[in-house]
């Protein structure tokens, strides 16, 4: 303490330096500071598909319900979500935990696509709209040991893939898309029935839902299909309904398929050698490179000379593939991502990498994954940035604006985007925080 006879004055340099050294050091990052996993949702909320009840039913009377969430909104989840799928007005979230509750669902439940959600007011009735992520009751043999690997959602049905107990299907079965026999005049609303599928030639590693059909890919590289086939999307050589998963032949017989994709009525498969096979609806020039007909019911090889294909995704009217070099090709009809002038093409067109942030300054930016919604496309780069483009139906692009987006546009997400699931009018993304 300074003596009473000493003037105060401005502190000298030495005093400043001593004060600085004596200042306490704060620690903000804990020792176990790990990057957290988060889920962000955006799009149309009135169906409950976003899982935020306050958007539909506000908690105070003066607050107005939020019909559309135009920018990413964080969704609190109890567990780390490893897989998510967006259907037509509903969402399924799954985690790889060994706990009893592994899958949560929210949104439309008029066909029991989210299982039986027991109503709290009347124990016999089921909720038709689920506004919050609610556990989906799966009839597992060993609930404490089985893990859920992947979920997929179609128009009114959903598929859950487990590691040791096969595939569980629920929801609408009027076209046999759940893999069980079609029952006349079956009432799907409030149904407890969840069907289990186990008879495949090897373990199922990927399940994909189209609009009213289901595709299963096994470890051996074969593809099974069931459901509606009027556009040939089951690929079994006929245009009828199939109610039991049947193996596909055609150009993919004997080929080791490493990825299948579908969302509308067209399907694409990628083999381990980088070839693309397609079948189903071709009214929008999706398969016009091999055939003039608008429905293809047998898988056909698409002879594109764009390099080895790593991943493919199908939308309602447009398709997108990602090659090994990291280039993105689009074809089909609609807003394809090359400006307002390109509305339809039968041959894949490349989207310039500079639109994804590639430049002389950042030459090692590559697109890592591509995803499709009904009329939207999404691309994830290796830096964790999410680019979207397409028809902005009810704000599903997440750009903050309501206009359609004609070329890839960055979505500002506070974190590194690991995966994204696109639906008709909403999207869900799994994000890792920065630090």
């Amino acid at each position: 303490r300074r003596g009473l006879g000493v003037a105060a004055g401005p502190p000298s340099t030495r005093q400043l330096r001593e004060a600085e050294e004596a200042a306490p050091v704060f620690q903000y990052a804990g020792k176990a500071a790990r990057r957290k996993d988060r889920v962000f949702v955006w799009g149309f909320s009135y169906s409950g598909a976003l899982g935020v009840p306050s958007f539909v039913k506000p908690d105070a009377s003066w607050k107005k319900p939020r019909r559309i969430q135009t920018t990413p909104y964080r969704l609190e989840t109890e567990e780390k979500i490893s897989s998510a799928a967006c259907g037509y007005g509903f969402t399924l979230l799954a985690s790889t935990t060994r706990d009893v509750t592994k899958v949560w669902g929210m949104g439309l439940n008029k066909d029991s696509q989210l299982g039986f959600q027991r109503s709290r007011r009347d124990q016999t009735k089921c909720y038709e709209y689920v506004l919050e992520p609610s556990p989906v009751p799966l009839p597992l043999d060993k609930p404490q040991q089985t893990r859920v690997l992947q979920v997929s959602c179609g128009r009114a049905h959903s598929l859950v893939l487990t590691d040791s107990e096969g595939v569980f299907t629920m929801g609408n079965n009027s076209y046999g898309q759940c893999g069980r026999k079609v029952v006349e005049d079956e009432v799907y609303s409030g149904s407890h029935l969840i069907h289990q599928l186990k008879e495949f030639d090897s373990r199922v590693v990927q399940v994909v839902c189209g609009q009213d059909h289901s595709l299963f890919r096994t470890k051996k590289g074969t593809v099974y299909a069931c459901g509606w086939g009027a556009d040939g999307q089951t690929g079994l050589g006929h245009y009828n309904i199939t109610s039991v998963p049947t193996k596909l032949h055609g150009d993919i017989a004997g080929v080791n398929i490493i990825q299948v994709s579908s969302y509308g009525d067209c399907c694409l498969a990628v083999s381990d050698e980088g070839d693309v096979f397609g079948w189903g609806n071709s009214e929008y020039l999706q398969l016009a490179s091999v055939t003039e007909s608008t429905q293809v019911n047998v898988p056909r090889h698409l002879p594109f000379k764009i390099g080895k294909v790593k991943e493919a995704a199908c939308g309602g009217t447009g398709n997108i593939v990602l090659t090994e070099e990291g280039n993105v090709f689009v074809w089909g009809y609609g807003i394809l991502g090359k400006g307002p002038n390109l509305t339809e093409t039968a041959v894949p067109e490349m989207i310039p990498p500079s639109l994804f942030g590639w430049s002389d300054f950042n030459p090692d930016i590559r697109v890592a994954h591509v995803r499709c919604g009904l009329s939207q496309f999404a691309a994830l780069t290796n830096r964790g940035e999410l680019f979207v483009w397409g028809k902005n139906l009810r704000g599903c692009l997440g750009t903050g604006r309501m206009e359609d987006q004609y070329f890839p546009w960055r979505v500002t997400v506070p974190g590194e985007v690991v995966d994204v699931a696109c639906g008709v009018d909403h999207m869900v993304s799994m994000v890792k925080s920065f630090t």
């Binding site: 004060a19 600085e20 200042a23 306490p24 050091v25 704060f26 620690q27 903000y28 990052a29 500071a33 090359k338 400006g339 307002p340 002038n341 310039p352 500079s354 639109l355 942030g357 430049s359 300054f361 950042n362 830096r383 964790g384 940035e385 206009e403 359609d404 987006q405 004609y406 070329f407 546009w409 960055r410 500002t412 506070p414 590194e416 920065f434 630090t435």
Partner: protein
């Protein structure tokens, strides 16, 4: 400048009375070339008494680097260069572990924090997200209708920029050096101030759950003028200035032609 030989004075044709060629006392008017007296150096005085010098984009007292000046008629080019809205490149040096009130290391200390958990990877991630958000701002403030084909073409080439007033936008960031607690970034930006860059360093520190102060801000490029064109203190003499102006003339004209048409 005044010592340099100036222009020769203008010549004029005057009809002066002179004695007639072939004798006689009559005076005749004879045309003669005579220098204009008004331009005589003793009448006119020194050619340059003051020079008009205009400054280009502002540079702080604490910052250093390229500073563009316009001399005489060059001041008119300065406004044109400003309207081109070209990016400037800075090297910004930072120091983790401290937070001060004016975001630089000469300010009053506010807080000290730990920084051992910071890695180059985390820093690069934060820089990527800064670039991403600023890229969006770039497209939004450029006031181009996103629905046109021409907007798509410009976006592919990367030429979309705000051509009017806009808040500071960073077009590219990159980490040049990283040695805890110091780091150095290269920032390409538009419409910024040096204090904004210091604030950016502070915010990077906060994002990384620590704190940072800015130690150095150095402009290495201002539109077309780079460090090579700039004259250091030892070369602030007439000869070097004239040479520098001559070297840059072509570049400036080409750039103005390209951007403003």
């Amino acid at each position: 400048l005044n010592a340099a030989p100036g222009r020769a004075p203008r010549q004029q044709i005057r009809f002066l009375p002179a004695p007639a060629v072939h004798g006689g006392r009559a005076l005749e008017l004879v045309a003669a070339r005579v220098p204009v007296l008004a331009e005589h150096p003793l009448v006119r005085g020194p050619r340059f008494r003051k020079l008009k010098i205009g400054a280009g984009h502002r540079l702080d007292v604490k910052a250093s680097g390229v500073f563009v000046l316009g001399v005489g008629h060059g001041n008119k080019l300065l406004t044109d260069l400003y309207n081109c809205h070209l990016t400037k490149v800075y090297t910004v040096g930072g120091l983790f572990g401290k937070a001060t009130d004016d975001f630089s290391d000469t300010g009053k200390l506010v807080e000290k924090t730990t920084f051992d958990h910071i890695t180059r990877e985390k820093l690069e991630r934060i820089l990527a997200v800064i670039q991403g958000t600023n890229q969006k701002a770039l497209l939004m403030y450029s006031n181009i209708d996103m629905k046109t084909q021409e907007a798509y073409e410009l976006a592919v080439k990367g030429l979309i920029r705000p051509m009017g007033k806009s808040p500071p936008i960073i077009t590219a960031v990159r980490c040049l050096q990283f040695a805890l607690p110091e780091f150095q970034l290269e920032i390409h930006c538009l419409h910024e101030t040096q204090q904004y860059l210091r604030k950016m360093v502070h915010e990077i520190g906060l994002e990384l759950k620590s704190s940072a102060v800015c130690t150095q801000v150095r402009r290495i490029r201002d539109g077309v003028f780079t460090l090579d064109d700039a004259l250091p203190r030892t070369q602030w003499d007439l000869q070097s200035i004239r040479e520098a102006i001559r070297n840059c003339q072509l570049k400036v004209e080409a750039e103005l032609e390209k951007t403003l048409g």
